[in-house]
Symmetry: D3
Subunit: 160 residues, 6 copies
């Protein structure tokens, strides 16, 4: 996880800025800017691919995701980001929406949540939504963990 | 919240005991004891009414709730109790199971989560499961908050 | 359960007749007749109240329930009635539709399924859909069992 | 339905104003105003009770419902209001959220959708989500129809 | 869309015939014929592939889909076909059943609903079922739109 | 089905042993052993692949599945195995969890349930959860039936 340290420092700086902007964001443009900052703070400084792909064909959905979901809701200061991501992972696992769970579990890892903590959410889901939902979630997390290991700096294919 | 202080101290003591018992609980009897300790640590030292009512007519369900759900899952040490309760609240709100959300939101308040933090989970649900699920959850939380205010020590009816 | 014996004999006779009619029912009128026979075979010879209440304001829904759901599907001979009712109870419990679960659990009791067998379905639901769905289902079954005990012949209020 | 005529005329005027405002609403204040206009256009000129009750305890949820759900989404010009309400009724019926279905079915009646058209949505739900969801929806619509008949001008209790 | 004009004319003719048949269809054979006419009126004169594949292994399901779902429900005259398809698209999007949403969105396009109107249904789903359901629906619609562009007459591979 | 006869005999023996063990299993080790016996009795004497893959990365989930879901719930004597599997198939079909439905439908076939009986569960789902859930379930069963035919002894590729 140490490889993410500089990003996490950057994330913290962005979050501080975001929280400050939160009270005053008022126009759609300001809300979109705030949403963009939230995505980058969660996504290692990168834009979110699913969101970018919607922009051309579903412009209102892209704008609503950025201005409302990310800019208004995810930027709220009343809950720390770790708890919010873990709660989102639990909600997506319980409703069987594993593709979205994967995105938010990735964000959680990016901001310092451990793989073990994500597994605990899965164990909890056996109680609240049954074993199949939990097993599906575990399979999705296994994919995510494997993908991140494959693309981690130390695992790059050796250059010739 | 100060009125819960002694209970919270007791809770902490119970949780330490629980975590210690966790590694070694092996027989069904030990698992049931651990589940009972978990309920009391979350429920102000009281047994859980829903669970107690199931004992006679649905004995296996009561035992499974106590030994597996509470004794095995909720007693795990890998996640702090606040995060676990908030994740459970999110999962129940997202799936529209407001009666169970109410129970776990009450546990959350008992162990020191604030009303404001529970509201943030509801705000998050507008994004992950839609406005109707969030509005239903808000109505259930309002009921819970009102019930607890009514039964708080300072609000007792004046004796004649 | 002995008090249902004559009804069960009647039920069997109706089911035989139903199965015989099954292959040849072709017009909407014949399908409606078959649906009516199915309801009475499951409901102690009585019409189904929910269905009757729909007739005036939602005539197509009442007709579709009687001709398709009951006349076409529930009258099929390839599965015994006990298994079909228990499968329906499982499906309704897993999707949280407890009001409909109650109706079909009542039918199941009427045709000789035991309370213990219905409880086993609830225990199964802890695995397939989680503890809250199972606990809700157990509460609904407890209501049903109590209502039937209250109205059983031996429990009638003494006449003066 | 003739009793709603003046309201419908008012509604039309509001909708024209709303559509004109739609392109330029940009600040949160403008979006809230637009949401308020949408509610009144759907709710016979009245504020929405559920929304009003949320304002004190869940201010962000009330604001998000008014600014985003009503102000941004429901005010969009690309779909006529009748179709949008019927689609919302279908979505709520299919997901078993009958309380919200009732609100939107009431809006639909307010803007001139007939009871018969709402019943057709219920019939459709037998196919897309099963008979129990359709039957539940029919029961909720029956309640709504009865409540509106009770409060219609011609049904007022005779004054002495 | 002009390329569908002859088909739409044919569709209209079929619908008129269907509506006329509606009142008198009574035998299973007549209901199946009516269902077949409905499919062809929605599917550019072609049979429905999913339905055809079920005929051999699940004959009752194929018959019930054709006679009940299509012949009884979809052929009803009380709602115009555009509204019915948009309501079905909303119900499928809200319940996360994107494969079925795709089929009905295709039917909607075939009978003259615009891509823009389908997008409005998706925007509505952010409110009624959350952003993930809406985003999934948008991805499915993007696939559908792309497939139809690829197979449109003007986009055929040039013959040598 | 005759090819499974020896396995079914073995299954019966295992089930007798399982039922006997049921009353006294008390330690986690005994519960795991019982779960392992249940899986093998349902899965032609083999371990369950999904379960095995979870053991390394999600050890608690694997243990809970084996000790609780299989060892405690599926081993209970109060319901015959055929009914339990058919009820589980109904619950999974109704909630759209087709991957888990496939596993349990396979178990059902292994213990002597016929393909025709599984189809009847699918027909029932049209009523309780709608046509799309039933059609999805039919497609999954068709896949399962085809896979089993391909790997049946008589269908082996001829050796040279």
């Amino acid at each position: 996880m140490t490889r993410h340290m500089p990003l996490r420092a950057m994330t913290t700086a962005l979050l501080v800025a975001t929280a400050a902007a939160s009270a005053m964001a008022n126009t759609t443009e300001e809300r979109l800017d705030r949403g963009d900052a939230v995505v980058r703070s969660l996504n290692q400084g990168q834009p979110q691919q699913v969101l970018e792909r919607m922009r051309q064909e579903f412009p209102f959905l892209a704008e609503a995701t950025e201005a409302y979901a990310l800019g208004d809701v995810w930027s709220r200061p009343g809950l720390d980001n770790r708890t919010r991501q873990l709660a989102a992972v639990a909600a997506f696992a319980a409703t069987g929406q594993t593709a979205f769970m994967k995105v938010h579990a990735g964000y959680a890892l990016n901001i310092g949540v451990s793989e073990e903590e994500l597994k605990e959410i899965v164990y909890l889901i056996t109680v609240s939504a049954g074993f199949p939902r939990a097993i599906s979630a575990s399979q999705t997390l296994s994919e995510l963990f494997a993908e991140r290991r494959d693309t981690a700096p130390g695992n790059e294919a050796p250059s010739p």
